[in-house]
Symmetry: C2
Subunit: 349 residues, 2 copies
């Protein structure tokens, strides 16, 4: 493993995007999302994804120069039409729009439609909290989980995020999908030859399984059964139904149909504490709340209780100082994509 | 079991409240919340609770004539000070305030503070959806679940709700707390002498248990581990931290300290689809979305896939026609509370 500075990683991503026709300002927004995820220690949504994104621009699935339009009937609510652009660009523009509108009106909802994979809620929440705002966000995703009592992949494992600034420390930052566990953890169990507890997944026939390989061929189960299922639907209501975006089968898989826009939708719900208790008072209250919970006794004395966002912030500080860890091959690929000597790759779905 | 009409149940609750000094308009709001929960088939939050609420008025814990004040710095955001009133009155006033502000501004946030037990999110969501609005709601609760990696009850099992109107059918209506399962289900397992799966609860020492009795003496676990834990915190941020309400240890248990206001907080986040795609278009989209999911094959062919809210709506239709099912003792207690021949009771905590 080597360490690559955030600046270098950012510059390589910008160069790679611009070489495929992405305007400089948009390339900077998209690069920032990758770099933030790498800094947070979410490499699955970091620069490692550059190759997919580039591949989808190259095959025509992502529009490098979208004509992004904002439609707003009332000041605190807006819909942003992404024109099939990079999801990270569309969502970043949506967040900017939402931050501006929330600061002017106390609260804002922005729906982003006709978009693509937008990375991680954590990165948007981090930026919103830095502006002093409370942020709820979420995105649609290709249907991969069954409804409660169902046996087909009819619902997206839609990720949602919550963020709020905290005085003298990292923001509260929650970024979760609705499945009990992740496909990455199932893959690791399969590699280690381990079984998995019941309740994590179904096999391809919709039957409960403790075999990680069978669950990977089948479905991930939502957390809390009908609860996670309901929350996944609620995220889609806020992201897509309310905004005029694509939903359900109108969403296309980014790797099965890479040459078409995925037609994803995202939302940002932003509230300015200045409209309630005042920003400084809110951030001090958040600090007191988080500190009270962190002071409670842990189950394992060596692992203190944490609040969401602490791990990401600690990783951010370490990686910003030491550089982003990647292996030589990843680094070489980034450089090749930036120089134009490599083409993007679409992984098998 | 007998069947009591919604009108009679409502009238008995109104009389009981008014007899303890609650003004007529407030008594009607509070009665409506009980009746809605009974109609939905959520008897734990229905008229069965009247006795507790009355008991808390009688011992001075709930203020029958609160001086409710609304503070608003910007039109779409307001904080409602509940003055220790009935939670169902405070929250109903908050919802009214939010509905008015969302219709005028496209979106609204209302935080309700210095409140008490507010019943069920489902009833508020139902009312908001009937007004054509999308509604996110939630409440603080006494700390009863441990943080992820913790072993004390440091976090409220905070309930949240999501509601949205659907053309030609019942609204989308989700109302969930953050624990994997409910204490009621653990009690039933204990009565039946059954063990429970791992992951539902911890014993009083914070260790995993499959004994329902041990879990009842210990803690309920949040769904998805850190996910449900994080969502519980997010609900408290929206309900209490942002609004200036009490949080964490400032919250008092309604049955351990019945003679003091519980200092709970609630929130309503309302969005008017008229500000996005238009109300009729939104409701038609919701219908298409729900129908598509309901049309997917069920795991058990005799139990079709449902979307959240269908069960509550079916119960509502049946109970509105046939009356609310209750046993003779419950009915007698309602009549005694209304007539003033019975005093309210505070159950053991």
């Amino acid at each position: 493993m080597i360490r690559v500075s955030a600046d270098e990683a950012r510059a390589l991503c910008v160069e790679a995007f611009m070489r495929r026709g992405v305007p400089a300002a948009d390339a900077a927004l998209a690069a920032e999302q990758f770099v933030l995820c790498d800094l947070f220690g979410i490499p699955t949504h970091g620069t490692r994804r550059l190759s997919n994104y580039i591949g989808r621009i190259e095959c025509g699935g992502i529009n490098p120069k979208p004509d992004i339009r904002v439609v707003s009937r009332v000041p605190p609510v807006a819909i942003l039409h992404g024109d099939g652009g990079l999801g990270t660009v569309v969502a970043s523009r949506g967040l900017e729009e939402g931050i501006r509108r929330a600061k002017a009106n106390g609260i804002a909802y922005v729906g982003c439609i006709d978009s693509n994979h937008f990375g991680a809620n954590a990165a948007y929440g981090w930026l919103a909290a830095r502006e002093g705002l409370v942020c709820l966000s979420g995105s649609t995703a290709t249907p991969t989980i069954p409804p409660a009592g169902g046996r087909t992949a009819a619902v997206g494992n839609n990720p949602v995020g919550y963020a709020a600034p905290c005085a003298g420390g990292p923001p509260f930052l929650l970024d979760i999908a609705m499945s009990v566990t992740s496909r990455g953890k199932l893959r690791r169990a399969r590699e280690l030859g381990e079984t998995i507890p019941e309740g994590l997944g179904l096999d391809r026939d919709g039957l409960p399984t403790t075999d990680p390989a069978a669950a990977l061929e089948g479905f991930m189960l939502p957390m809390g059964g009908h609860k996670g299922y309901g929350l996944a639907l609620a995220a889609e209501v806020l992201a897509a139904l309310l905004s005029g975006g694509g939903f359900g089968p109108e969403i296309r898989h980014q790797f099965k149909e890479p040459e078409r826009s995925s037609n994803l939708a995202h939302y940002f719900l932003l509230i300015d504490p200045e409209a309630t208790v005042g920003r400084a008072a809110f951030e001090a209250r958040m600090r007191a709340y988080c500190d009270a919970i962190k002071a409670t006794p842990p189950a394992d004395p060596s692992r203190p209780v944490r609040v969401p966002g602490e791990g990401a912030a600690a990783n951010h500080a370490r990686n910003a100082a030491a550089g982003i860890a990647m292996d030589e091959a990843e680094y070489a690929r980034l450089k090749g994509l930036a120089a134009g000597t490599l083409r993007g790759e679409i992984p098998e779905a």
